[in-house]
């Protein structure tokens, strides 16, 4: 291997330069551009922009959606990865594929799906009407907070299970089987054997899920129409950006910079996780 590296020094340097140039132009520059644009009108303007009334409201909606999506998808991730990695059954591949659906479909379709279910034309609309009439509550899903929550859950659905499944598959199920044969109860096995195995993958899955939930745009955009009530941070950024005047434009980047900082934190955490995983693999 060594000899090969020396022999192709020119190729090596060219490839490294291409790689670095690509990453700098495609990835580093946009990050710098957000921060640069956000501070164009000074720090005072920046602080003013990120504490505007609409922004605070959007921040609250975003955080709520993120917490709900992370909660639901963590629960689902743990349960579904248990099914998929600890048992053999027919249709396992199909189940895994179905769970991954939200990864490969347009977020706009996710929004549309809930409109066609709970919206005026949806089959569940009359049912909702009936429930509203009986309970005396006004239940709104589409263009209201529940729609935003459902859309966020939808797009982040596979994130946790996707991180856990490969780790559990690599660990195998011998330990769980041994424990079960010795009479341990299901939850006890999970707590003592499976959970410690999946711990870090779970943490990483939760981080990814939260990052995506904070930034979801297309699906929520289809289901949320009231600025200051059901708008999330990305929708608020969109509204500021499209309003056209130069103040709002800078404000859009100021609000974006919050999400950029979160994205950088996620990347750093991801790298720490990966480093830990490598260390543990090296120990074995």
């Amino acid at each position: 291997m060594k000899k090969e590296q020396q022999g192709s020094a020119a190729t090596r340097n060219i490839l490294i330069i291409i790689a670095i140039a690509f990453v700098v132009i495609m990835l580093v520059l946009p990050l710098a551009a957000v921060i640069g644009n956000s501070l164009k009108k000074g720090f005072e303007f920046y602080m003013h922009a990120i504490t505007a009334k609409y922004v605070i409201s959007a921040l609250k909606v975003t955080l709520l959606a993120t917490v709900v999506a992370v909660g639901v998808n963590t629960f689902f991730g743990i349960i579904s990865s248990w099914v998929i990695t600890k048992f053999s059954f027919r249709g396992k591949q199909l189940l895994a594929t179905l769970i991954d659906i939200p990864f490969s479909i347009s977020p706009v379709i996710a929004g549309l799906a809930f409109i066609m279910t709970f919206g005026r034309l949806g089959w569940a609309y009359p049912i909702l009407e009936n429930i509203s009439r009986i309970t005396g509550m006004d239940i709104q899903i589409v263009f209201a907070l529940p729609g935003v929550l459902l859309a966020t859950i939808f797009v982040t659905f596979p994130f946790v299970s996707r991180e856990i499944i490969p780790v559990l598959n690599a660990e195998g199920k011998d330990e769980e089987e041994a424990a079960a044969l010795m009479g341990a109860k299901g939850f006890y096995i999970f707590r003592k054997i499976t959970f410690p195995q999946m711990k870090w993958a779970l943490v990483y899955g939760i981080i990814l899920c939260a990052a995506r939930a904070l930034g979801e745009f297309g699906a929520v955009a289809a289901l949320s129409k009231t600025r200051g009530e059901t708008f999330t941070l990305p929708l608020e950024i969109d509204a500021l950006y499209l309003s056209g005047d130069s103040d709002s434009l800078v404000a859009a980047f100021a609000v974006s910079s919050i999400l950029v900082i979160i994205a950088i934190v996620v990347l750093i955490l991801r790298n720490i996780m990966e480093y830990r995983a490598k260390l543990r693999a090296a120990e074995k």
Partner: protein, 278 residues
């Protein structure tokens, strides 16, 4: 160990299976099925009428061609990036590696407005490019830039682990047998990487096809210039409350996405079968 197949030793199969299927159905499958149900209630003529509308056809053409091109570009740069990250050591390598997943972590709307600003005729990259007579923002080129941005991690992360595990024996054998380095790469390494490349390509293409947030600002969404993408058209129809058109277009996009997902899964199943048999 044969008995584990006939009788399950580990407890909790029924309960966890039930919860998994129930949540999957309620949160994903039933809402998606609503789209299908609504689309199938339309008459054939009505369906065809909405999807063969020229603006819709152009949007499909734009989305498919741009997503394909972007995925191909990402296959080239993704292979180079993965190769450099696995095979070479250089200062800043860890930093480079850590940045690859930025497009996953960065919200699409933020990426969209930033790229659009950067490549506009007054932006840091757009200005020099405009001097050369190349306009990026609000053209197909801009769309392509955004799709390359969001697609790159799929390809790099698909290839990297395979390249790490690749047995150097093959390369050494080829080398000893007198193959040139280039020949070794294209004949031996690339053929080993093919399933991973196909997976990365499929995922990047599927993502690019349905992408919304990162492309709508930079593409300009002009019907005249054919820079509208399919997800933009769906959103437009939704805003006009034209649900029939929105669902029919979505149905076609869904079918393409499912086919891509199926393709990626087949590649992966075949790959794991092959590696496990060795």
């Amino acid at each position: 160990m044969k008995f584990t197949h006939s009788k399950r030793v580990i407890p909790g199969f029924g309960l966890t299976m039930g919860v998994t299927i129930a949540m999957l159905s309620l949160l994903i499958l039933i809402p998606l099925a609503s789209v299908f149900v609504y689309a199938f209630r339309m008459s054939g003529a009505e369906f065809l009428g909405t999807v063969t509308n020229s603006a819709v056809l152009y949007a499909f053409r734009t989305s498919i061609i741009c997503a394909l091109l972007a995925a191909l570009i990402n296959c080239v740069f993704g292979t180079i990036l993965a190769w450099v990250l696995v095979r070479y050591d250089f200062p800043g390598k860890r930093f480079l590696d850590g940045l690859i997943e930025l497009p996953f972590a960065l919200p699409t709307a933020v990426a969209g407005i930033t790229l659009s600003k950067m490549y506009s005729t007054t932006g840091i990259l757009g200005k020099p490019l405009a001097g050369l007579g190349i306009e990026v923002s609000y053209t197909h080129l801009g769309l392509l830039v955004a799709l390359v941005f969001i697609g790159i991690p799929f390809v790099v992360r698909a290839i990297q682990p395979v390249l790490e595990k690749l047995d150097p024996q093959y390369e050494e054998a080829a080398y000893i047998l007198g193959a040139s380095r280039r020949k070794t790469f294209f004949r031996i390494i690339l053929s080993e990487l093919r399933p991973a490349l196909l997976t990365g390509f499929g995922l990047a293409f599927a993502r690019g096809l349905g992408e919304y947030g990162s492309v709508i600002y930079i593409s300009g969404n002009s019907a005249k210039e054919h820079t509208q993408v399919v997800s933009y058209v769906i959103m437009q129809k939704l805003n006009y409350m034209d649900y029939a058109s929105a669902t029919s277009i979505a149905l076609i996009l869904l079918i393409i996405s499912f086919l891509m997902l199926l393709f990626v899964n087949m590649v992966q199943v075949r790959q794991s079968k092959r590696t496990n048999n060795v």
